[in-house]
Amino acid sequence: MEALRTTKPKVRMSNSTLLFIIAGIIFLLMYGFALISFPGSFLQFQTFFDLFNFNAALFIVTLGMCIVMIAGGIDISVGAVCGLVTMACAMLLQSGAGDVWGALLLALGIGLAFGLMHGYLIAYLEIQPFIITLAGMFLAQGLLTTLHKDPLNVTKPAFVALRNFTIEIPWLGTVNRLGVFIPCEIKPGVFVVLVLVILYAVLMKWSRFGRNVYAVGGNIQSARMLGINVKKTLFLSYVICGLTAGIGGFVFLMTTGAGNIGNGALFEIKAIAANVMGGILLNGGVGNLLGAPIGTLTLLTINELIRAAGVQSNLQAIVSGLLLYLFIVLQSIVMSLRSGRKFRLTLPPWLKPHRLPEEKEAGNQG
């Protein structure tokens, strides 16, 4: 034992890292399974890029939700805000009053307004986040249907150019049956996702705000005793989430090019599911921000897999629910096996892992 201790002090892996690693492994396993079972579609790079191309908005929304979830809150208005932004921007572009930059500003403005409202009401007036963001969701949906009921296609040339703009990767692609080389295409929305992922990951990992968010989410009382401005941290987390939802809405419009009532529907649920798959707990204080894109990728891969398997559309929902179930149970078992003291799963005595007293002490300290 002495020899072991002198070589290197063992650092216990944090829960966030562990859950992130599990999420990563599951994604790799899932994608590997997809590659083996449907090599025709999944072996093409374009399939992988299309996951990003067509779901960039979901990735972005999930990032914002991730920060709020780490702070121990929830924001279920993101999908509705996203939809509202697409419709408002589409109307602005169609009316001819504003150009693309104006639409971007409007998107950011709407997102910021919702974020400020949620943040102020939740952080400074101490109202329950679920109810306030539920009201925000109703408000956004109501405004959306009031603005315009029918689908609105944007035909402004400048925007259409932006929508159709794709970046081709010359050295990556597939050769089709006729022998023509088709390079992979990436939409500009993917770059927004990349920039935001890097920005938020840096923010959560190395900035004071990021550490404060973890502290507040972990234990609000002790964060307060450490002198952290809890209210400001919570406020900022909701503002960022709202702003991100606004950006997500603009990217959504950039992908589909039309404002529609159904835009961004159920994004909040998908974002929560993706975050849970990425190892970010709803309790708060646990999770790696990079888990959000990994979780979203897992969710999308599952959907693609089910679609490729060609099962009935009703079975699709059931299968994705079952996979989510397996995932949640696995996460829970790993977490409970890890913390011997807080052993949540009640196994029969002969199944309980035998633990040495020393280990137990270590577990208690950790």
Binding site: I132, T146, S320, I328
Partner: protein, 372 residues
């Protein structure tokens, strides 16, 4: 007097839902004085109040279950609409199996089977939450995603129709009884819940677990069992709500039956003055909250608000309400009230003991000098 004050304190948590109710009724009375008018049509009561009681039947039942789940598990069940859809799909299939010879017995057995289905689904959610320690919202997300598809598969074809006399009577009105049947069923359900809460220790245990699960465990209450139990109750509540909803509609539409009702149910719990973070709860508050939401919906329709904008108005109303009821604003109001009170009492004191005023001021001056 002290007895009265204690009584008032006990009812203080109902201040929020009741005041909202009063405001809404006042708005309705301003719009038209015939709000409370009840007419007899074909031997049954019709009017605004029976309509509200009729429309909110499922929501009230779900709000009761949601209150218990929220209080014990500190989270919300978002799959209640889906549980209702699955349970009622099973009920409809059982009734349709019987063919044309549907008796009261068939309906009753079908109802009991759907309740058992609700129990099983509740057990599924409850196992995840209590034994695996998953947050309730995440655990119920699974059924939220897949539940309607299960109901659809049970249905077999798109929205089977419940065309029999008894279902029709359960959904609307029994000849000879002046009150609509869903209202009676809701009343019976509330009575059962009240009876259970009065005769058993359920309330005490649920509150103990919700306030502090560890302390509850040390006192010999198993939090896992209690949380599991609340999810079972939630399952039964959802099954009953599904039963009423499907009989009202007369057909089983697996896509739209009880759609997004969990939002309203959670809102009813919050409007009832309950904390969504668990702990003490008030079933009365939740029931009033549920009826309030129904009245709010109908009021917006009555005020001829654009149907597209109804949700936005609802949101503004909820936000204003939650701001008024928020702890910070309440504390601020109390502080202002105390200041007013001290000012008034001080003013009256100065009036009565004007002689001492000079003494006080001299003492103040002396104290001030010392500090300098």
């Amino acid at each position: 007097m002290p007895k009265l004050k204690a009584h008032f304190d006990r009812l203080s948590h109902l201040f929020l839902p009741l005041s909202v109710l009063v405001i809404l009724i006042l708005i309705n009375l301003v719009k038209g004085a015939d709000y409370f008018k009840i007419t007899m049509v074909n031997g049954a009561f019709y009017g605004n109040i029976p309509n509200i009681l009729f429309g909110a039947a499922e929501l009230v039942i779900l709000a009761i279950g949601m209150t218990l789940v929220t209080a014990a598990s500190r989270g919300q069940d978002i799959s209640i609409g889906e549980i209702g859809a699955i349970a009622s799909a099973i009920f409809v299939q059982y009734v349709l199996r019987a063919g044309s010879a549907v008796t009261l017995w068939t309906i009753l057995v079908g109802f009991l089977i759907s309740c058992v289905a609700g129990l099983l689904i509740g057990a599924f959610n409850g196992t995840l939450v209590s034994f695996f320690g998953v947050q309730p919202m995440v655990a119920t997300l699974i059924l939220f995603l897949g539940g309607r598809s299960i109901a659809f598969i049970i249905d077999g074809k798109v929205s089977p129709i419940l065309a029999n006399e008894i279902s029709n009577r359960i959904g609307t009105v029994i000849p000879g009884v002046p009150i609509q049947t869903p209202i009676i069923l809701t009343a019976v359900f509330i009575a059962i819940v009240v009876l259970v809460l009065k005769t058993t220790n359920l309330r005490l245990y649920v509150e103990a677990v919700g306030i502090n699960p560890n302390a509850a465990r040390l006192n010999g209450i198993d939090p896992k069992k209690i949380i599991f139990l609340t999810f079972l109750i939630m399952g039964v509540c959802s099954a009953v709500a599904g039963f009423i909803a499907v009989n009202k509609a007369g057909r089983h539409d697996s896509v739209n039956l009880l759609k997004f009702i969990m939002m309203d149910a959670i809102l009813a719990v919050a409007l009832g003055g309950n904390s969504l973070g668990g702990g003490k709860f008030s079933i009365t508050g939740s029931i009033i909250g549920a009826y309030t939401i129904e009245i709010l919906n109908r009021t917006l329709l009555r005020l001829e608000v654009n149907p597209e904008a109804i949700k936005a108005f609802k949101a503004v109303f909820i936000i204003i309400l939650m701001v008024i009821a928020s702890p910070v604003v309440r504390a601020f109001a109390r502080k202002v009230w105390d200041k007013v009170k001290t000012f008034v009492t001080g003013f009256s004191m100065r009036k009565s003991v004007g002689l001492n005023k000079t003494v006080f001021s001299m003492a103040d001056r002396a104290a001030g000098k010392k500090e300098e």
